[in-house]
Amino acid sequence: MTAAALHPNNPAQASAQPAQAVRSEPQGRRPRRLTAGRVGLYAFLLTAALFFLLPLWIMLITSLKPMEEIRLGNILALPETLTFEAWTKAWSAACTGLECNGIRVGFWNSVQILIPSVILSIAVGAVNGYALSFWRVRGANVMFGVLLLGAFIPYQVFLYPLVRIFSTIGIYNSLPCIVLVHVIFGLPTMTLMFRNYYAGIPVDLFKAARIDGGGFWPIFLRVMLPMSVPMLVVATILQVTGIWNDFIFGLTFAGRQNLPMTVQLNNIVNSTQGERAYNVDMAATMLAALLPLVVYFVSGRWFVRGIAAGAVKG
């Protein structure tokens, strides 16, 4: 049988080549690469990307301009004289209220809050998830339901009661206070994420570990935790960006000595004495956003997973 008989609709291709050669090629009409729909799709995606990139771009070029250029009002124009003065000022000399030590104070405060909060919230969430998935705790479902409910209640509701509680026990306005707040509010999401992750691990593995003599902690530390690396990465990304970007908890619970970078940034931008130094404001904002940006660029794939996993977070 010839190829022409097989493909009566495509005589040009079929008659030109022997049957053997045709058979090994993909058959049928080649799909067109560029259609109106495709063009529209790319146009939309490009517009959306520009829409989100434009503010970042304007911030970046404005922060590199001297004030004389900014006053001209061409916000899209590239800087004529490139200067990093605004960045150094924002880092070490901008005024947050009465003090003029720049945003670096806030940076170190944020680091101090971030590290214990991230480690503790993930640790507690992982243990919670492990306990709920593998150890048949009495009332586990009720506890899990309550935790989930906690994830959906707006934070603002808790602010005043928590302030009262913390001042009563005497830790209000301190580093432990703000860390504790972050751990508590990270708990529902972290527990949910780890519980779901551990639910995917075969229960036989847990049974084998129990027969091998592992108790609650040995099984967690030696069997489950080493298997949790992907989830730990996702949880770390989620918590680092979340806690770094927090404003309201820092403002409410951290106390004057420990105000995080976001609050310091707000103070810099809002303390207007004379002319508004747009380039310093922009530089300070860029500095405050640097860590989440780095995390984003370094761990793109994991970051998306983290966002998806944290979609329940209000």
Binding site: R210, D212, R222, P226
Partner: protein, 359 residues
């Protein structure tokens, strides 16, 4: 003294209560297979013995000790799972020594036992590999090795071969049997739904269905004298033939009659009395039927012929009644042939059509 003794045990499984007081004694060194279809409770029973499920009532004794409320690790057991359940982040050596490390066994002793078990199972060359670098058969060998090093008195197997392909399954089955022979005093409890594994491995089979023990006996007892119709149909492939009819008295002797076909029950050992005149179901294994040109049961037509190499299974038909007979593989039989059957009356079983119990 029994090595494992399950006494009047019930298990509360979420809202449902299974096994209403199940009892079972297993002798030291015995190989007992729990056999039954999915959901019959065989794995539940094994998990209860292992201590992975709490019992709602009753007691479990292992090695003369009441272990009903002991932790799994303190029961002197080792277990092998269907899914291998190897720790994915540990290599083979670490997998095998994990339990000993947990028990704070001295390091040289761990080394010695792991090496010994690895040699026995021929996995010494795999000791440094991680589970994801092993094939299914190798993984299950490692899992068996992990059980071996624990030096347990009782080994529990939960469908260990079900995830393997047919060839490997046969190989490892023989290996498990050899292992049992070599370990001598080790008691093994083995859960499976595969009747061939049960028949080949077991000293005693416990056939289960609907969370109840249907029959306990040696493989040959279970095969030749099934205690009810479920056991009779579950064991044996091709399946036992069932023919409905009644038992009649004739000249001081009993015979089974279905339509015009009769079978003398002279050699049959009844387990119940006063059966004359009652309805009954006759069970005949395919290999206890001889095909011939002449014979007591005539006028069967060959419906389907299934050659299996050593033997051939011939499906014969007479109206609505279909009968499978196993015959020598050399015999030439073709669809449409007319045949007569002769039944070996000493090997048949009779069941009550109402209760399904053996008569």
């Amino acid at each position: 003294m029994a090595a494992v003794s399950v006494r009047d045990v019930s298990v509360a499984f979420e809202a449902v209560r299974v096994f209403n007081g199940l009892s079972l004694d297993i002798e030291q060194g015995e190989f007992v297979v729990l056999l039954g279809p999915s959901g019959c409770g065989k794995s539940t029973l094994l998990n209860a013995i292992a201590g992975l499920l709490d019992v709602a009532s009753g007691q479990i004794w292992i090695g003369g000790k009441n272990v009903t409320w002991e932790e799994p690790k303190d029961r002197g057991i080792a277990m092998v799972f269907q899914s291998y359940a190897l720790y994915p982040r540990m290599n083979v050596r670490e997998n095998m020594s994990f339990g000993l490390k947990m028990a704070r066994t001295p390091r040289p002793e761990i080394e010695r036992r792991v090496n010994q078990a690895a040699e026995l199972l021929q996995i010494t060359h795999l000791l440094k590999r991680r589970p994801d670098q092993l094939s299914g058969g190798q993984r299950q060998r490692v899992a068996i090795g992990r059980a071996l090093v624990r030096d347990a008195a009782v080994f529990l197997f939960d469908e260990p071969l079900s995830n393997l392909d047919a060839k490997l399954r046969n190989e490892l089955r023989v290996e498990i049997k050899r292992l049992h022979a070599r370990l001598g005093k080790a008691t093994m409890i083995y859960v499976t739904h595969d009747q061939i594994e049960a028949m080949t491995l077991a000293d005693r089979i416990v056939v289960m269905q609907d969370q109840k023990v249907q029959q306990i006996g040696s493989p040959s007892e279970i095969y030749r004298r099934p205690s009810n119709r479920f056991v009779a149909s579950f064991i044996g492939s091709p399946q036992m033939n069932f023919i409905s009819g009644r038992i009649e008295a004739r000249d001081d002797a009993l015979e089974f009659r279905s339509g015009e076909r009769r079978l003398s029950l002279d050699g049959y050992r009844f387990s119940t009395r006063n059966v004359a005149g009652t309805e009954a179901v006759l069970g005949i294994r395919p290999e206890h039927i001889q095909l011939g040109d002449t014979g007591p049961w005539q006028d069967f037509t060959v419906d389907i012929v299934e050659p299996m190499g050593a033997d051939t299974v011939v499906w014969c038909r007479d109206g609505a009644q279909s009968i499978q007979a196993r015959t020598n593989g050399n015999r030439k039989v073709a669809r449409g042939d007319r045949l007569s059957l002769a039944v070996d009356a000493a090997e048949v079983s009779l069941f009550s059509p109402d209760t399904g119990d053996r008569l």
